[in-house]
C-alpha cells in the first residue's frame, strides 16, 4: 500500500497494474471452472454477463448506477487504509448515512431542491461519519481495535435500522418494513432519459476528485498518509496521529454514508431494511483492486458495477445464479491478497522453490 502519487504510478507500473489485472484474469479462470462444474458453458455465461452489463444504453446506465455507491464505499475503505486503519464498518456507516438522509428527506419543511438535496446529502455524510467516528474514538481513547469495533458496529447499526423501519419510521399502514417516500426536492434528478441513472454518479465522481485532492494536495491528507505509514514518526514530526485517526474515521464513515444517501435519494426514493446487499463490504474489494488510489477505485467500481448489472441477464439466459458474481469478486480479492507477497519480495519465494527443486534434482542424479 505504498504512496501512489503520479510519479510513483509510472515508476511502479508493474506493481500497480499487473497484480490487479492478473488477479482478475485468474478469478475469471477459476470461476469458469466453477460455472463448468454447474454444467453450464462458462464462455456463454460471460458473454451474457458482458451483454447484460454493456449491451444497450440502459444496461450501461445500470452499470454506472451500480458503480456509483461502490466508488463511495471504495473511497471509504481506501481513505481509512491510507491512515493505517481497517474500516470494515462501511456497511453500518452506509445505513446510518442513509437513515440521516431519509430523515432530512422526509421531515424537512418544504424548500427548493437546491437547498433540500444538498442538506440531505450532507446529512448522509455526517450520519455515516459520526458512526465511523464512534470506532475512531474508541480506538484513540480506549485502544479498542477498530477492525472488531467496526464489525460489531455494523450489526448495531443494522438492528437499529431494523427498529426504525419497523417502528418510528414505518410507512403506514405498515405492510412492509420501509419508510414513506422522501420529498421530490430531496431526490437526485435523473441524468439520462429513459434510464434510472441519476445525479448521484456525478456526486460520486466529485467525491473521487475530492478524495484525491484531500489526500495528495492538502496538509491534512499528507498527515493522514504519514500516520498511515508510521504513527510514531508522525508524532515525532510534530503531527497529531490521534487527530488524524479521528479525522480519517469520520471522513471514511462519511463517504460510506454518502453511498447510503446515493441509494435512498437516487434509486429507492425511500429507506428500507436490508437494501444494501453488501455494498459496504464490496467497497473493500473495490479499494483493494483499485490499490487505494482514485483512478483504480473508479475502474474497479465500474468493473464491479458491470458485474452486478449484467448478472441478472446472465442468470436469465444461462441459469448461472447471480450469486456467482460474489464468487468472482471474492476470488479477485483473494488473488490480490496473494500477490502482496510478490510485491514485497519480488519473485524470491518462487525462486527459492525452484532452487530447492533443482538442488534435489542434482542430488538424485
Amino acid at each position: 500500500m505504498e504512496g501512489t502519487c503520479k510519479k510513483d504510478l509510472i515508476k511502479n507500473y508493474t506493481k500497480t497494474v499487473i497484480p490487479p489485472t492478473v488477479s482478475i484474469v485468474l478469478a475469471l479462470l477459476v470461476s469458469s471452472l466453477i460455472i463448468k462444474l454447474m454444467g453450464i458453458n462458462p464462455i456463454l455465461a460471460f458473454q451474457w454477463l458482458f451483454k447484460g452489463a454493456l449491451g444497450s444504453t440502459n444496461s450501461v446506465a445500470e452499470t454506472f448506477l451500480k458503480a456509483s455507491p461502490l466508488i463511495l464505499t471504495g473511497i471509504s475503505f481506501a481513505l481509512a487504509m491510507r491512515c493505517g486503519l481497517f474500516n470494515i464498518g462501511a456497511e453500518g456507516q452506509l445505513y446510518m448515512g442513509a437513515l440521516a438522509s431519509t430523515v432530512v428527506g422526509l421531515y424537512m419543511p418544504p424548500v427548493p431542491m437546491f437547498i433540500h438535496l444538498p442538506i440531505a446529502v450532507a446529512a448522509g455524510f455526517i450520519g455515516g461519519g459520526l458512526w465511523g467516528l464512534v470506532a475512531g474514538y474508541l480506538k484513540v481513547k480506549f485502544g479498542a481495535n477498530e477492525i472488531i469495533t467496526t464489525i460489531m458496529l455494523n450489526y448495531v447499526a443494522l438492528f437499529f435500522i431494523g427498529y426504525m423501519m419497523h417502528g418510528p419510521l414505518l410507512e403506514p399502514p405498515g405492510f412492509l418494513p420501509q419508510t414513506p417516500m422522501v420529498a421530490e426536492t430531496a431526490k437526485y434528478p435523473k441524468i439520462l432519459a429513459g434510464t434510472r441513472l441519476h445525479m448521484g454518479l456525478i456526486i460520486s465522481l466529485i467525491a473521487l476528485v475530492m478524495f484525491y485532492i484531500l489526500l495528495w494536495k492538502t496538509k491534512l491528507g499528507y498527515e493522514i498518509r504519514v500516520v498511515g505509514h508510521n504513527p510514531t514518526a508522525a508524532h515525532y514530526a510534530g503531527m497529531k496521529p490521534n487527530r488524524s485517526l479521528l479525522v480519517a474515521m469520520f471522513l471514511s464513515g462519511g463517504f460510506a454514508g454518502m453511498a447510503g444517501s446515493n441509494e435512498v435519494l437516487g434509486v429507492l426514493g425511500r429507506m428500507m431494511e436490508h437494501f444494501s446487499y453488501g455494498v459496504g463490504f464490496d467497497g473493500i474489494a473495490v479499494a483493494l483492486l483499485g490499490q487505494n488510489g482514485p483512478g483504480g477505485i473508479l475502474l474497479a467500481a465500474i468493473l464491479f458495477g458491470a458485474m452486478r448489472s449484467g448478472a441478472n441477464i446472465m442468470q436469465l439466459a444461462t441459469g448461472v445464479p447471480v450469486a456467482t458474481i460474489y464468487v468472482i469478486q471474492a476470488l479477485i480479492v483473494i488473488f490480490i491478497v496473494c500477490s502482496e507477497i510478490f510485491r514485497r519480495k519480488g519473485l524470491k519465494p518462487f525462486q527459492n522453490i525452484m532452487y530447492r527443486y533443482r538442488k534435489k534434482g542434482v542430488d538424485t542424479n
Partner: protein, 310 residues
C-alpha cells in the same frame, strides 16, 4: 411453582443451549486459531459452507452423520486454504477473511440452487434429533435442559473442557499459545510456527464447518441462502468477550444464545417490544469489553500478524 412456568423455563434454557451450540462450535475453533495468531473473520463463510455440506451429505448418504462428516471435511479444507493464504503467502488475514465470507455466500447460494433445486421443493433430509441420556435426563429441570439434547450439543460442551485441557495442559497447547504470543521466541526454541498455525486454522475451520452443519441439521433441517445470518461474527464477539478462554467463551455463547432465545420467545408471543435492541446486546458488550469497560479483553500479542521467518 406452577408447572407451566417450570416448563417454560426448561424450554427457554434448552433453546438457549441449542442456539448457543453453533456459535460455541465456531468460537472454540476460533480459540485455537486466534491463540496461534490467526484472526479468522472468515468463520461466517466457513459456517455457511458447512451448513450446505451438511445438508448435501445428509441428502446423498441418508444420514445426518455423513452430513456432519462432510461439513467437517469442507470446513477443514477451507481452513487449509485460508492457512495457505495467510501463513505461507503471508496475506492479510482480515481481507482474506472478508473474501472467504463472500466466497462462502457466493458458492453456497449458487450450488444450493444447482444441487438441491429451488427453495420451494426442498427434499426431506435426515437431521439431528435429541438423545435423552438415561437417568440423568430425569433430574428435574437440569435433566431435560442438559441431557435431552442432540449429540452435537454434548460434543460441543465436551469440546470446551477438552480445549481447556489441550491449551493449558499439553505441550502442543503450549506451542499454540507461544506461537500466538511471540512466534519469534517459539521459533527460536524449535517450534515450527507455520505448522502449528496450519494445524490450528484447520481445526478452526473444521469446528466452524460443524457449527454450520448444526444450524442446517440441528436447528432446522434444510439449507437456505445466508442461513448462518451473522453467527460467525457473533462467534468472534464470544471469543473476545470470553477473553480467549474456553470457559469464558462458553459463558459468552450461552449469554448470546439466551438473547436469541428471548427474541424467539418475544416474537412467538407477538409482543411489541422492539427485539432489535436485544439483538444488539452481544455486539455492544463486546465493544464495551474491547474498550475495557467490563474487564479489559486482550488479544494474543501476535494475533493477526503474519510470521516471516526471514
Amino acid at each position: 411453582m406452577d408447572s407451566s412456568v417450570v416448563q417454560g423455563i426448561i424450554n427457554f434454557l434448552s433453546a438457549d443451549l441449542r442456539l448457543a451450540t453453533p456459535i460455541l462450535l465456531a468460537a472454540i475453533g476460533m480459540i485455537y486459531s486466534e491463540r496461534a495468531g490467526i484472526v479468522n473473520i472468515g468463520a461466517e463463510g466457513m459456517m455457511l459452507a458447512g451448513a450446505l455440506a451438511g445438508v448435501i451429505g445428509s441428502f446423498f448418504f441418508g444420514s445426518a452423520w455423513y452430513g456432519a462428516l462432510l461439513a467437517v471435511t469442507v470446513g477443514g479444507f477451507a481452513g487449509l486454504i485460508f492457512g495457505f493464504i495467510v501463513i505461507t503467502l503471508q496475506g492479510n488475514q482480515i481481507v482474506t477473511g472478508i473474501a472467504f465470507n463472500l466466497l462462502g455466500l457466493g458458492l453456497t447460494t449458487s450450488f444450493s440452487r444447482v444441487i438441491l433445486g429451488s427453495t420451494s421443493q426442498r427434499p426431506e433430509i435426515d437431521s439431528f434429533t435429541a438423545v435423552a441420556i438415561p437417568l440423568l435426563s430425569d433430574i428435574p429441570i437440569l435433566g431435560p435442559v442438559l441431557f435431552k439434547q442432540s449429540i452435537i450439543v454434548y460434543f460441543t460442551i465436551g469440546m470446551v473442557f477438552i480445549t481447556y485441557f489441550i491449551l493449558y495442559k499439553t505441550t502442543w497447547g503450549l506451542k499454540v499459545r507461544a506461537v500466538g504470543d511471540s512466534p519469534k521466541a517459539a521459533d527460536t526454541v524449535g517450534v515450527n510456527v507455520y505448522f502449528v498455525r496450519y494445524q490450528s486454522i484447520i481445526i478452526g475451520g473444521m469446528l466452524a464447518g460443524l457449527g454450520g452443519a448444526f444450524i442446517s441439521l440441528g436447528l432446522v433441517s434444510l439449507f437456505t441462502e445466508n442461513m448462518v445470518a451473522g453467527r460467525g461474527f457473533i462467534a468472534i464477539a464470544a471469543v473476545i468477550f470470553g477473553k480467549w478462554n474456553p470457559f469464558g467463551v462458553l459463558l459468552a455463547a450461552l449469554l448470546f444464545g439466551a438473547g436469541d432465545a428471548t427474541v424467539f420467545r418475544l416474537q412467538s408471543m407477538g409482543t411489541d417490544i422492539p427485539y432489535q435492541f436485544i439483538r444488539m446486546i452481544p455486539y455492544i458488550i463486546t465493544i464495551a469489553a474491547l474498550a475495557g469497560f467490563v474487564g479489559k479483553s486482550r488479544a494474543p500479542a501476535a494475533s493477526g500478524i503474519p510470521y516471516d521467518k526471514e
